[in-house]
């Protein structure tokens, strides 16, 4: 007597329990898990995310839902489809009391559950500052800038220490769609051109970064974590209002209500903006940050000349660079921007001093100076 309406649209046998956020399809729990994993697998295969067997790959793990689902899915898929890669959990300890210390406990449990090695890199050891101290100093406004710059470098350093050159992050489709909208609102053309890329290798980072959950909706991730009863930490960062992203986020939620595919459609649009080759004449824009810093960078004589992009994906960047060069040659004489190393910490940088060191310097101005160390503390499990 039960009508077909309650049957799973895929297997036609089980009772439908889930409305798939992407297309409103009513499916059963096991089909949902299968479809979700299959989609991540498809993303991995079609984008050739693991080109080499035997490679060690880091998963940026925060203990939150995205990275936990990423680790769980990848473990299952690696066993099922035999990618032949080894995963390592890489966590950053920002030093936020009541948030990170608890979530790191989750990551530690995950490491045991998924039988993965765990490496924790702390801001404290790397920069001499925890986020708690940073916030105490700079206040709640703008502290995300510090955290973002520090995290990017900390991930790279952690991976380097593990002798790994590929980091996976848990960015989902909603994150990417929000970023596309935000980059439009901020007028950030260069970032708009790369924010929807699944894999990036920028000139300022030796690491490849991939987002295997790029096409997964946040809702699906929550659902997946729920059905597989994954152990994750769901508290928001205590310092993260991020008002601007909040704007984009609520806009996206509204769009999703009237057309659930909107999130994917924005990602798709973003991908179409990725590799447009912008003619130098049209490049009136600068990178969003640090116009003056960039100029200072051009004056630095210690830069390595002719660093070739090592990965094809970075080519659009190279095009931007050439255009910048051209623009600057007209005004500044013959200056070129190339990637060198930070004079203070030795990390890759297009400026004489890397962004993280500059931020640390600004923090240290009234404090006893702290050396940025390359070693930091490490915790292995």
């Amino acid at each position: 007597m039960t009508s077909n309406m309650h049957r799973c649209a895929i297997c036609q046998t089980n009772r439908a329990q889930v409305i798939r956020p992407k297309n409103g399809q009513k499916i059963c729990k096991s089909c949902f898990l299968e479809v979700f994993e299959l989609e991540v697998h498809t993303t991995i295969i079609e984008n050739n995310i693991f080109p080499k067997r035997g490679e060690r790959v880091a998963i940026g793990a925060s203990g939150g839902k995205d990275s936990t689902v990423l680790a769980a899915t990848l473990k299952a898929l690696n066993e099922r489809y035999d990618y032949g890669v080894e995963f390592v959990l890489l966590s950053i300890d920002e030093g936020i009391h009541g948030y990170r210390d608890d979530s790191l406990e989750t990551v530690k449990r995950n490491a045991v559950q998924y039988e993965m090695e765990l490496c924790i890199v702390g801001y404290d050891a790397l920069y001499g500052w925890t986020m708690d101290k940073v916030v105490e100093k700079v206040g709640r406004k703008g502290n995300c800038t510090y955290c973002g710059v520090f995290r990017r470098q900390a991930l790279d350093r952690g991976a380097k220490r593990l002798n790994i050159s590929h980091i996976l992050t848990g960015h989902n489709a909603d994150d990417i769609a929000e970023t596309v909208l935000m980059n439009f609102l901020r007028g950030d053309l260069p970032r708009l051109g790369r924010c929807a890329e699944i894999m990036t290798a920028s000139a300022t980072s030796p690491m490849r970064r991939s987002k295997p959950l790029k096409y997964a909706y946040e809702k699906e991730i929550v659902l997946y974590a729920h059905y597989r009863e994954l152990d994750y930490f769901s508290t928001e960062c205590v310092y993260s209002p991020e008002a601007f992203r909040g704007n984009a986020r609520s806009l996206l939620k509204e769009l999703e209500k009237i057309r659930p595919s909107s999130v994917l459609d924005i990602v798709r649009s973003g991908e179409q903006l990725v590799h447009d080759i912008i003619s130098p004449s049209k490049l009136g824009c600068e990178e969003r940050n640090d116009r003056s810093e960039e100029r200072r960078g051009f004056m630095n004589g210690s830069q390595i000349q002719g660093t070739e992009p090592t990965n094809l994906k970075s080519l659009p960047d190279a095009v931007h660079k050439t255009a910048h060069e051209a623009a600057h040659q007209a005004t500044d004489g013959s200056r070129t921007q190339t990637i060198g190393v930070c004079g203070k910490c030795g990390y890759m940088s297009s400026q004489p001093t890397c962004k993280a060191c500059m931020l640390v310097d600004s923090l240290n101005k009234t404090e006893p100076p702290v050396e940025v160390s390359l070693t930091g503390d490490q915790t292995f499990h």
Partner: protein, 424 residues
């Protein structure tokens, strides 16, 4: 004593920052301006886009321009400004470079609501405009007329013969009722409206179609089209100039003015009676609520930019979108043609497109190894189904070769559609 008298007294602070003669009436980009100086400002922004329509010595016949009017307040402002511009030409050169035909596309038969009341309001408004702007020609064309435009190409696959015998309005209604949401309906109505205007321009020998889109409106359009999955044709959707639809160009002379500036302009020039929108509805923060589910993507975006009321956000969006340039446009049009619905260049799987571009630009040392592993041609198209959940309708597996991503999304589940216009 005389010196003191010459010094600007405290009263000077209450004068317009530009002319320093009149009391300011509006604060515009941190400057307090009087009505006249504000008028100069808006007209300067407008005139910048009128360069091709300046009086030229050797022009023989007047150019014909088609002005699209929704009878909204921006339309009224553009009509008035064009009237001023043309009158100035007549006054100074004793002739004008152009004639204007004002076209209102009547969509009341398909957009729902109180059709009779909307029609009466539009007719009354058009009558008032005719009285005021006697030099301009006014016409009202129903949207369904797009079905009676003589088609220059052969029929599109899938048009059933009996469909061609039913009246245009029935065809249009059938098309729209096959779509799954009001968002999709309005999307296609917008495309049809633009195409009808371009067709009318062709019929009447007009060399340009003028739209009264403000910066704010265009920012909403950019994000709306991105949301609909049309990132690949963004430059075509927002740049002025030629279109793939016909010989006429598109000009948006208000593209540098924000919506609030246009509203102030209309208020200062008492243009509200010449619009179907009342001043109170346009300026009140509370818009009449539409059922959340029934909103369109464009409406959500317009509301977003109304709410943020931060002019530089919309400037950022439009300027950024205007800088996008797709070097492979021509190549894509040659290989893939135009979308059968929106008539703009087709898209292609982002990964395939990227591969083509990167290999072409760089030396492509890694390109060959990559192309072998990534799927090409037929299988790549399936990614639309696998990754973007955009399944082709049954029996229409080849649709992705004829219809772009955004249009397939808007016509999702519609089956075969009777689309009135063909591409060249």
């Amino acid at each position: 004593m005389a010196d003191i008298a010459n010094l600007p007294g405290p009263a000077a602070r209450n004068l317009c920052k530009r002319c320093k003669l009149n009391p300011p009436e509006i604060t515009m980009r941190h400057e307090a301006l009087c009505r006249d100086c504000f008028q100069i400002y808006t007209r300067t922004k407008f005139t910048r886009h009128m360069e091709p329509y300046r009086v030229k010595k050797n022009s023989q016949t007047a150019k014909k321009l088609l002005l699209a009017t929704s009878l909204g307040v921006s339309s009224a402002a553009l009509l008035d400004t064009l009237h001023w511009h043309r009158a100035l030409q007549v006054e100074r050169a004793r002739r004008s470079e152009y004639d204007v035909c004002v076209v209102h596309i009547d969509e009341t038969a398909v957009t729902g609501g109180d059709t009779a009341a909307a029609t009466t309001a539009a007719d009354r408004c058009l009558e008032k405009l005719k009285e005021k702007y006697t030099q301009f020609e006014f016409i009202k064309v129903p949207l369904e007329e797009i079905y009676t435009i003589p088609s220059n190409a052969t029929t599109v696959e899938g048009i059933t013969l009996d469909a061609s015998t039913s009246p245009p309005l029935t065809k249009l209604r059938t098309l729209l009722s096959s779509l799954n949401s009001r968002a999709s309906q309005m999307d296609l109505i917008t495309i049809l409206r633009t195409r009808l205007l371009l067709e009318l321009a062709k019929q009447r020998g007009c060399e340009a179609v003028f739209f009264a889109d403000s910066m704010t409106k265009m920012a909403a359009t950019v994000l709306a089209e991105v949301t609909k999955g049309r990132g690949h044709v963004l430059p075509w959707l927002i740049s002025d100039g030629p279109t793939p639809y016909g010989p006429a160009k598109i000009v948006r002379p208000f593209r540098d003015l924000s919506k609030s500036e246009i509203i102030s302009h209309a208020t200062f020039n008492s243009l509200w009676p010449f619009s179907v929108i009342s001043q109170s509805t346009a300026t009140s923060p509370q818009k009449p609520p539409i059922k959340a589910k029934n909103q369109t993507i464009d409406e959500i975006m317009e509301k977003f930019f109304d709410d943020v009321s931060n002019a530089h956000l919309s400037t950022n969006v439009v300027k950024t979108a205007a800088k996008l340039e797709f070097a492979d446009d021509r190549d894509r049009v040659e290989r893939l043609g135009l979308c059968e619905v929106c008539g703009l260049p087709m898209d292609e799987d982002p990964r395939v497109r990227k591969l083509k571009n990167v290999v072409k630009v760089g030396d492509g040392e890694e390109g060959s190894s990559r192309s072998s592993s990534s799927s090409n041609g037929g299988s790549a198209g399936d990614a639309d189904a696998r990754i973007y959940c955009l399944e082709p309708p049954k029996g229409e597996e080849g649709l992705k070769e004829r219809r772009c991503y955004g249009c397939r999304r808007s016509t999702l589940g519609a089956g075969k559609i009777d689309w009135p216009v063909n591409n060249r």
